[in-house]
Amino acid sequence: MPSTMGSKARVDPSRAGTAREHEAGERTSTPAVHDDTDTGAPAGTDDVRRLLDRTGARHPDPALDRWLADVDAGDEAAETLLRRMYADMVVSRRLDAEATALQRQGELALWPPLLGQEAAQVGSARALRDDDFVFSSYREHAVAMIRGVRPEQVTPVWRGVAASGWNPYDVGMATPQVIIGAQALHAVGYAFGILCDAERDPGRVPDGGTAATVAYVGDGAMSQGDVSEALLFAATWSTPTVFVCQNNQWAISEPVSLQAPVPLAERGTGFGVPGVRVDGNDVLAVLAVTREALHRARTGGGPTLIEAVTYRMGPHTTADDPTRYRSTEEVESWRRRDPIERYAAWLRARGTLTDAVEQEVRETADRTAAELRAGCLALTDPPASRIFEHVYAEPHAALAAERDAYADYLATLGDEAPAEAEGGAR
């Protein structure tokens, strides 16, 4: 990389940390930044909002804590939520491991592991309402799970059986996006639609016009022009959109420094989108900042950019060899900040996480992994005619003719006669 690269963080250091106003017309207090350097975390990753340090100690932050009043109530609902998030993290890690294994066994063509990013995904996704809509990238398996995507719906894409595995409207989440950053604009457009609906007739809008959209993007994605345009359109239209950037330090082999001379949380301010930098391995802090951002979105305060500082513990995908570009020390330093361990330590200390609960979660994880595996292995190759389906919504004589010609051709081969296609190429 060019030698000058590290040398020009030219932004006023006093502006780092980026605790911006988190609600229209109201300023949060100074962020509670807890020193975490004993973890040996890479430089520049400690100026984040944090509630749980890596030992699992909980630090107060009034500005964030107010978004966790229900959690702090300590009643059964709180316990349920806290246990559910623990289960989310453990189960998604287990699913991820299972999918990685399936790929190693040749049952999946590819898999992009989420390992290490459980808190960033679970904390943000658990802040959502059912009527919100998520536009994600390709690594948000925990988000998908929380939205209601079933294990067997995750694998078709990665086995190469279909370009997507679920109906977005069933779960309020678009299917994986491979073109880096493209989905951010879709999230803004959808959110603008929510605004338009609400203005027309809030009573008749199912979500009362207070739904929001979430765009998940990576640190690398922040470089794409589409993401910048999304920030601008969101600010201009004041759409109810939360941008969740999982800064997992890497875009394949490229370190985040290549994409971000200054912290990514700052990226939106020049467009009019305030930013917040949160410890992405602290599920409570992520939950709090996302709830805060969603509240603003729902109440007319417009978009927010959340930078969740985390780490991709595994390879970019199963096809990647990260030892070519990063050190074991770096990986180890992040292992010490594991998102599940610190949360578990805190839960255990407060009595939420008992051996019995742990056991139950592990069983759920195993069962879900088994479902994933069974679902994957049960996938059959679709018929040839599938390629002509759903290309168009309305009758398309030319494509229908192509389909028929190809069916005739296949018939001459004698090995497969494609079923009549439904829709798309009538």
Binding site: G193, C196, L232, V391
Partner: protein, 342 residues
């Protein structure tokens, strides 16, 4: 009820009708609101339907297309204006990777009825990037429909059909012909109107089939008249739909005439002329008396205004193509080449 109006006004009338028929129709683009578009196609729409249905957007075409996709995801039916043909390329990814593929990607779950209006082609003496003919790029992209209009009536009707269509449609407007007037009924019943995918026989003839679309249709009709003066019957087919192409209509004509000329403004190489020629050769090989002839823009960047008369096929170049299709040597010099453009 029919009224005399320009093609540009007919587009506006079609849009107004589409917005009235369906409250989910929204119009988005640069300068389309208060200004009514640089060609005034959307004139008056914002005043009538409000700034939430006729939306002036930031100056970023990828952003416009990407947010239109999001709006369609939410259930809206966005009609996007790209101010000039040459500005669509910054939105290319959102069109070819997202808009075109979303339905297949989601196995039919997500319907994106986005219409992209693009004033197209040259001959108006404009600056660079204002006279492009990018039809072939979009016709080569599966998942899109591509249409063009040549008459005021089609401007209104086909635009309404495009907006009503549940597929994404790239809708090309012949900007050089915006001022052409005709009788227009903006309220024709779409159920009984010819579908937008059907070609239209614009002039009958038995000697040569001439296929074109958009702003070249008028030139082709002039050529047909000139040819008929020389005793040659030219059948002019206005394709209207560029994807899919109504090859049946063309083949039916070529089986009769045995000769095909395709005319378009865009570059020749890998243009739609090649597609028409190749498909008709496949379908009508035994009927063809001569190889199909292409009369097209040259394979050069669109030239500056003072030279565009050499790029845009004109009456004489079309007649030369007809001659070639007829196997005639070039005709003697004609009195004067006809001026093209506005």
């Amino acid at each position: 009820m029919t009224t005399t109006m320009t093609l540009a006004k007919a587009l506006g009338a079609g849009l107004r009708r589409a917005m009235t028929d369906d409250p989910s129709v929204m119009v988005l683009g640069e300068d389309i609101g208060r200004l009514g578009g640089v060609y005034r196609v959307t004139d008056g729409l914002q005043a009538e339907f409000g700034p939430r249905r006729v939306v002036d957007t930031p100056l970023a075409e990828s952003g416009i297309l990407g947010t239109a996709i999001g709006l369609a995801y939410r259930g809206y039916r966005p009609v996007v204006e790209i101010q000039f043909d040459g500005f669509v390329y910054v939105a290319f990814d959102q069109i070819v990777s997202q808009l075109a593929k979303m339905r297949a990607r989601t196995l039919g779950a997500v319907t994106l009825p986005v219409t992209i209006r693009i004033p197209v082609a040259g001959g108006i003496g404009a600056a660079e990037h204002h006279s492009e003919s990018p039809e072939a790029y979009f016709a080569h992209t599966a998942g899109l429909r591509v249409v063009s209009v040549a008459t005021p009536q089609d401007a209104a009707t086909v635009l309404r059909q495009a907006v009503a269509c549940d597929d994404p449609v790239v809708f090309f407007e012949p900007k050089r012909r915006y001022h052409v007037k005709g009788e227009v009924d903006p309220d024709v019943d779409l159920a009984t109107a010819d579908p937008m995918s059907a070609a239209r026989v614009a002039a009958h003839g038995d000697d040569v089939t001439l296929v074109t679309w958009g702003s070249q249709v008028a030139t082709a009709l002039d050529a047909a008249v000139a040819a008929s003066d020389e005793g040659v019957g030219v059948e002019v087919i206005d394709l209207r739909s560029l994807s899919p192409i109504d090859h049946d209509a063309v083949a039916a004509s070529v089986r009769r005439t045995g000769r095909l000329v395709v005319v378009h403004e865009g570059p020749r190489q890998a243009g739609l002329g090649a597609e028409a020629a190749a498909t008709i050769t496949e379908r009508c090989f035994e009927f063809l008396e001569a190889a199909p002839v292409r009369v097209t823009g040259h394979d050069v960047p669109y030239p500056p205004a003072k030279l565009e008369g050499h790029q845009v096929p004109d009456l004489d170049r079309i007649l030369d193509g007809v001659d070639r299709a007829l196997g005639r040597v070039a005709l003697p010099a004609r009195a004067q080449r006809t001026e093209v453009g506005a």
